[in-house]
């Protein structure tokens, strides 16, 4: 178990980085709590795997420190940190049996054979691998192999954190669900810190207590799945999380409301208290789930054309045209969709204001 602290951490793969662009990971400071389940979420190439490898010790950061429980481990090799890592493609030792695979990390650390047996059997039982212990590991299916990789981390009693690098990439969809549930069980039982890298938002949101959204080497937001959904700190987060992503409309700020092409959209009081500076590009953002579409003009509603309706089974996605902007709204399956014209309502408590891409208030 460990509290993981990143202090002034930055990393560049080039030896003489010149500008920001040379950094795979831009300067960051974070504290991740002991026993938490964290997901690093972001598109390919955003630096999430680099960050993971720095924590596991496979990569030494060019700047800053990594601390486990206050102890500086920045330059310690992986085997001296109490971590385990599960990789994208299953890593198993081909010539060994499942038992020997699971025993490998313990035997390398010269643990007594009776204890090795006890630990391996316990872990195998938990991962439902008991029946396979005597088999050669190479003949197994991808999900069983991935369980072995995970098991090699779990057998060690000293493990403080288990790191996952997109571990479900090669697993069949229906098994993904089972394996993810297994992970949750293990997390609840052992209270280990788990750090999980993925580019799949569903995976991140269902797995983690805290999600770290990354883009271009920076952390855009660290929050619970609900926070990411309700109050995206950055337009990137709003767009990246959610399906479809958040709607953004460029606007002006005038008299306590946002003006989109001379149409008035009221904002919540908390936003008004932090009225943004002049000269900064402003946008309002609203989740498709929160945008309402009605057939009749109600107070404050804006007229829009309905461009497209997609029925996705248990909900509908309506694309509406407001002036020159396109907006998406997600409606429950049973809601009536107006014909060619509808009226859009932006609930003020759900409408966010962004200045230069960042959330206001």
């Amino acid at each position: 178990m460990a509290r993981i602290e990143l202090r002034g951490l930055a990393h560049s793969y080039s030896t003489h980085p010149k500008g920001d662009a040379d950094y795979a990971l831009k300067r960051m400071d974070h504290v991740w709590h002991d026993g938490g389940a964290y997901a690093l979420l972001g598109p390919s190439g955003c630096g999430k795997t680099t960050l993971l490898n720095i924590i596991s010790g496979l990569v030494i950061p060019s700047e800053g420190q990594v601390l486990f429980d206050g102890l500086d481990v920045t330059r310690l090799p992986p085997q001296q940190r109490n971590i385990a890592q599960v990789f994208q493609f299953p890593v198993i030792y081909d010539t060994m049996s499942v038992f020997d695979n699971l025993a490998f990390p313990l035997r390398n650390r010269r643990v007594a054979e009776t204890e090795v047996r006890a630990r391996v059997e316990e872990v195998a039982d938990m991962l439902e691998l008991t029946g396979e212990l005597g088999r050669r590991a190479r003949g197994l299916t991808a999900d069983a192999k991935q369980k072995i990789s995970l098991g090699r981390g779990l057998v060690r009693s000293d493990v403080a954190a288990i790191l996952f690098d997109e571990p479900l990439t090669v697993i069949d969809p229906q098994l993904k669900w089972l394996l993810r549930r297994k992970l949750k069980q293990i997390h609840e039982r052992f209270q280990l810190s788990l750090i999980y890298v993925t580019h799949d938002q569903n995976e991140a949101l269902t797995f983690a207590q805290q999600v770290v959204v990354m883009s271009e080497g920076s952390v855009m937001q660290l929050g619970t799945p609900q926070e990411l959904f309700e109050r995206p700190a950055h337009t990137f987060v709003g767009y990246f999380i959610g399906s479809p992503g958040m709607n953004f409309l460029p606007c002006r700020y005038e008299g306590g409301a946002a003006m989109v092409d001379n149409q008035r959209i009221p904002l919540a009081k908390s936003v008004l208290d932090h009225a943004p500076h002049r000269g900064v590009p402003l946008e309002i953002g609203i989740r498709p789930e929160h945008l309402r579409i009605g057939a009749n003009p109600v107070n404050g509603a804006l007229p829009a054309e309905i461009a497209m309706v997609e029925d996705l089974g248990n909900f509908k996605i309506v694309t509406a045209r407001l002036g020159r902007h396109m907006l998406k709204a997600k409606l429950p399956e049973d809601d009536a969709v107006p014909g060619d014209h509808g009226w859009l309502t932006f609930p003020p408590d759900r409408t966010r204001l962004y200045a230069d891409g960042r959330l206001v208030a």
Binding site: N53, S56, L58, P77, P78, Q79, I83, A84, Q85, F87, Q88, F89, V91, Y93, D94, T95, M96, F104, P105, N108, R109, R136, R138, G139, S149, R152, G153
Partner: protein
Amino acid sequence: MDKRPYDNKAWLLVLPVFLIVAISAIIPLMTVVNYSVQDVLGPFQRVFVGTEWFEQVLNDDRLHGAFLRQLIFSGCVLLIQIPLGIAVALTMPVKGWQSSLCLVLVALPLLIPWNVVGTIWQLYARPDIGLAGVAVNSLGIPYNYTSSAFDAWLTVLIMDVWHWTPLVILLCYAGLRSIPEAFYQAAKIDGASAWAVFRYIQLPKMRRVLTIAILLRFMDSFMIYTEPFVLTGGGPGNATTFLSQFLAQIAVGQFDLGPAAAFSLIYFLVILLLSWIFYTYITHTDREDAR
């Protein structure tokens, strides 16, 4: 009765293959088969002798000697070149210009023709004027490949190791490069020693290329001819007379076409058989493992 119409045009499509196989393999081989069962007395005089040549060759003591030497030689070649090739491949740089340079340097001996390799070493190891030969002798170690059987063997072996270990190195290097980085990372995290990494990751992953390397080196060394021929002509005595050399002696030296043809067939079958046994053994254990 089957009344369906037959379309024999399909034969036309298969014909080219038959022709190519016939010209490239069957006809030359049949010539040898032809000679192996006849006694050719003159251009148009021949007598069918059945298996006589085969019996004669198989009971020839010289053949037994050559066969034994051949097995020992091929065994030595494999025992030296495979571990050496693995060891060198493991120490080669992985990236950058150093790796390209190493690959080129390692591949150089492979580009040199057998005959030239023989000549190079024949001169290089000469006890009177060769750099290596003179140097070894001046160290007080008597070395002369024309008089000592051991020295001749040693020279041929060194020559072969110098010429062909690069092939094993290149194959192993390719095998090693195909191991994903994650395996090394996982091993590090599991606290594996360098030996354990070799034993449980690198060696198993090199298995396929090693199969190819062993097979190629075995077949090739089993057919060695040029190097001992250039060095000592198979001597001193018969010390470095291997199977090919023996065959050349009866076919070209003594012009005994019948026994030479019979022996050619036996030689061919032996290589085929040994390679087949070896190959099935490897692929069989492969399948066992998968279970």
